[in-house]
């Protein structure tokens, strides 16, 4: 080529704007697509922000009071007082309680055995029974924790009283004074909202890119564009750019809604957050592109996107903690951009983390983005060349 560098730069820019403008028009023309790309993520973030609550409480509990004493009634009332266990009725006996667990009316049953008050008064050890529905292990753990905490405290108090009555000195005690940083009331929404945003971004970037490009291939319009003097690279960038813009717009929207509706704080620097968002979108768009080069039609592109999306969402630490996974699976999650995005956003928004704190996550996003994008672009070019 005898073009001077400035000329070739100008052509490139012209080509890029042309493709960009065409893509934007095409996307805007279909109103439904715009609704799905912008309104749907918004509605879903709000809805799921309210729906997801890790703080298990109000576990439906039935009482079986076989003692019918003032003592048993007192403990029944007090153990239900902190609202972790919710009173779901009184039953006359253990078989009825079993039935209630069977049909799901209750998830726990507290049984006060006959003679409880008498045993306590006589100084004999007494035992309260708790039947649990273990099908949800987390809920079972919370319920048994609440009951044993309450009865543990009662037991300790009784011992102290007895020691005092016997004139012996009370024993020393270790007391924990908790101080919760970043999220003092341990609310779930600030934790989950960044993760849900990341999830929705996969849908609106990866899936849309993969299917949009496969559609062009399916219809043969990609080949038509290639006959024009446009360079494949500019074509590619021009096609991805509108989705990058939509993605950034969605993030801004979701962060705004998160802080407004769910009081998600914004403690860190926006620069760090923006870096995370850009790197993340770069990698999700890259995955979309890669999938489109691997599939022949939209249905395959969708399934490919889906295969990526499912583990990416479920193993992102948004739904269940990554620390609870076995080691090999934790290593796999390093290659999950959703995980890193969620961690960067949480770090920036809640903890006020900076580049120094998030180098691991940001580094992996760079690695993933560049790797996937390079692979995808190479495949895209060979397919078109």
């Amino acid at each position: 080529m005898s073009e001077r560098p400035s000329d070739s730069w100008r052509t490139a820019r012209r080509q890029l704007t042309a493709v960009f403008r065409k893509e934007v028009r095409q996307t805007i023309r279909d109103r439904r697509v715009m609704v799905l790309l912008i309104v749907a993520p918004l509605v879903q973030t709000v809805m799921f922000g309210f729906a997801v609550d890790f703080d298990v409480d109000r576990v439906p509990t039935v009482l079986v009071d076989l003692d019918r004493s003032d003592e048993s009634r007192l403990h029944a009332r007090r153990v239900l007082a902190d609202r972790t266990l919710r009173h779901a009725g009184d039953l006359p006996g253990v078989p009825e309680a079993d039935l209630a667990l069977d049909d799901g009316r209750a998830a726990a049953a507290l049984v006060f055995p006959p003679g409880l008050a008498r045993d306590l008064a006589a100084g004999r050890p007494a035992e309260v029974q708790l039947l649990l529905d273990g099908s949800d292990p987390n809920r079972a753990m919370v319920a048994s924790g609440a009951a044993s905490r309450y009865f543990g405290e009662v037991g300790e108090r009784l011992i102290r009283e007895r020691l005092e009555a016997a004139g012996r000195p009370a024993p020393a005690q270790v007391v924990l004074a908790p101080r919760v940083l970043y999220n003092p009331r341990l609310k779930t929404a600030p934790y989950v909202v960044p993760g849900i945003a990341g999830t929705l971004l996969v849908i609106v970037t990866t899936l849309v890119t993969a299917m949009g490009l496969s559609r062009e291939r399916e219809m043969g319009t990609m080949e038509q564009v290639l006959v024009t003097p446009i360079r494949p690279l500019w074509l590619l960038i021009g096609k991805l750019l509108p989705f990058l813009v939509i993605g950034i717009f969605d993030v801004l929207l979701l962060v705004a809604v998160g802080s407004w509706v769910f009081e998600v704080p914004l403690r860190g620097s926006l620069l760090v957050g923006a870096t995370g968002v850009l790197l993340y979108l770069f990698s999700t768009l890259g995955v979309g592109l890669l999938i489109s080069t691997l599939s022949q039609n939209q249905q395959q592109a969708f399934l490919g996107g889906f295969i990526f999306m499912m583990p990416a969402i479920l193993l992102s630490g948004v739904m269940t903690p990554i620390r609870g996974m076995p080691g090999w699976l934790q290593v796999i999650t390093w290659f999950n951009p959703v995980r890193h995005f969620a961690e960067v956003m949480r770090g920036v928004l809640m903890r006020g983390a900076g580049f120094g704190d998030l180098w691991f996550q940001l580094g992996f996003l760079v690695l993933l983005g560049v790797g996937v994008m390079a692979l995808a672009a190479a495949r895209f070019r060979t397919q078109l060349g």
């Binding site: 697509v33 306590l120 020393a172 270790v174 996974m325 903890r351 704190d357």
Partner: protein, 378 residues
């Protein structure tokens, strides 16, 4: 030919189903994905998901440096719940928490041992990263339990011979070891069924509109309703296969019990799938193209099936309007039903409301979809 009209109609539906089956079979990638993906997901999730943590990384900032404070560190480190990963100075705690190096820190003040020796309350500060509330709540509960045990141990001499006067004893039914897989497998199968059924039908039918081949089908003597039924049938079979595969895999690999009846599971699957296929059909009729259909399908089937179905997050904990809304999500009933059948051995006498709700949804959405379908064709 003087065959009964119903028989002829069935024949035409069969022909449509055969055509659609060929479509599915010719695309082995789709088929493989539809059948292999659930197993992979189940595998990852069955192993991957526990909400119960152990070896939570803990910082131990010891200002007392005494025998008693070292004993406290041992009590935390020796329990499988925590692992002491660092012993910074108190001012070094927060940067390490911010970086996510540890989740919590214990700060033992000067004079800790002294207080204990004098029989006073010895306060220890527990600083905790609350960003993840699930982890945060566990840290609070577990640290509290360890501190209590430590108190008992310290009081050992005084308490010698004293039995705790009142105790609670727990019996856990259905899943005594508290294994997360037992909880996840039924939920996950509902989720996977919802996705494949809604998405595959929505895409298959939207694809016909997009390519214009739907109009060609209308030109054939096959009735509108017969086209719909014929097209949905292969996906119904595929969905049931998937359900069997997931249940079998769960039983073999994760020892998920099948305490109830297998035919009842299939009945639940069938009614649920009818609703999901209806939803897919409805989406495809409204969307007309595959891109819109996927987005609509992902947003209307996938996320509600994860978040509002009770698969991971208990429904009782949601705000009331959302609890009411979750009643419109069929996955909710399938998750509840499958858990009941598999883990508790429930029968129809307990689970009929779930079945009824799914049937209502199926009738409503299929009616709505065919009405839209007919109007669009007319």
């Amino acid at each position: 030919m003087t065959r009964h009209p119903l028989a002829r109609s069935l024949l035409r539906i069969g022909a449509m189903a055969a055509k659609e089956t060929i479509h599915v079979r010719r695309d082995p990638r789709t088929l493989a994905l539809a059948l292999v993906m659930p197993v992979v997901m189940l595998f990852l999730f069955g192993y991957g998901v526990t909400t119960d943590l152990d070896r939570i990384p803990l910082l131990f900032a010891d200002q007392d440096q005494s025998e008693a404070s070292r004993a406290l560190a041992r009590a935390f480190d020796g329990s499988r719940e925590f692992e002491v990963v660092g012993r910074p100075a108190p001012e070094g705690v927060e940067p390490l928490l911010r970086r996510g190096y540890a989740v919590a820190a214990l700060v033992v003040p000067r004079g800790y041992q002294q207080d204990l020796l004098l029989g006073r309350e010895a306060q220890v500060q527990l600083i905790l990263d609350g960003a993840d509330p699930l982890v945060g709540n566990q840290v609070l509960a577990k640290a509290d339990a360890i501190a209590r045990v430590e108190s008992w141990r310290l009081a050992g001499a005084t308490f010698a011979g004293v039995q705790p006067p009142l105790q609670v004893k727990s019996w856990t039914r259905y899943n005594p070891e508290g294994r997360s897989a037992l909880y996840m497998v039924p939920g996950l199968s509902a989720f996977l069924l919802a996705i494949t059924a809604v998405m595959l039908t929505a895409l298959a039918i939207a694809g016909e509109w997009e390519r214009g081949s739907m109009e060609q089908l209308f030109a054939s003597p096959v009735g509108r309703l017969e086209i719909v039924l014929g097209k949905l049938l292969p996906y119904l079979v595929l969905g049931l296969l998937e359900l069997l595969l997931v249940v079998a895999f769960g039983a073999l690999v994760f020892d998920v019990p099948i305490r109830g009846s297998l035919p009842l599971i299939m009945l639940f699957g069938l009614v649920f799938l009818a609703g999901m296929l209806g939803q897919g059909l409805f989406i495809s009729v409204v969307a007309k193209n595959q891109l819109v259909a996927t987005q609509a399908g992902a947003l209307s089937a996938m996320l509600p099936a994860i978040i509002l179905s009770g698969m991971i997050f208990p429904i009782e904990n949601m705000p009331l309007p959302l609890q009411a809304f979750s009643r419109l999500i069929p996955s909710r009933y399938l998750v509840h039903g499958l858990r009941g059948i598999l883990l508790k051995g429930n029968g129809l006498s307990v689970l009929w409301p779930d079945l009824l709700a799914m049937a209502l949804f199926a009738v409503a959405i299929l009616g709505l979809a065919t009405a839209r379908f007919k109007r669009r064709v007319a």
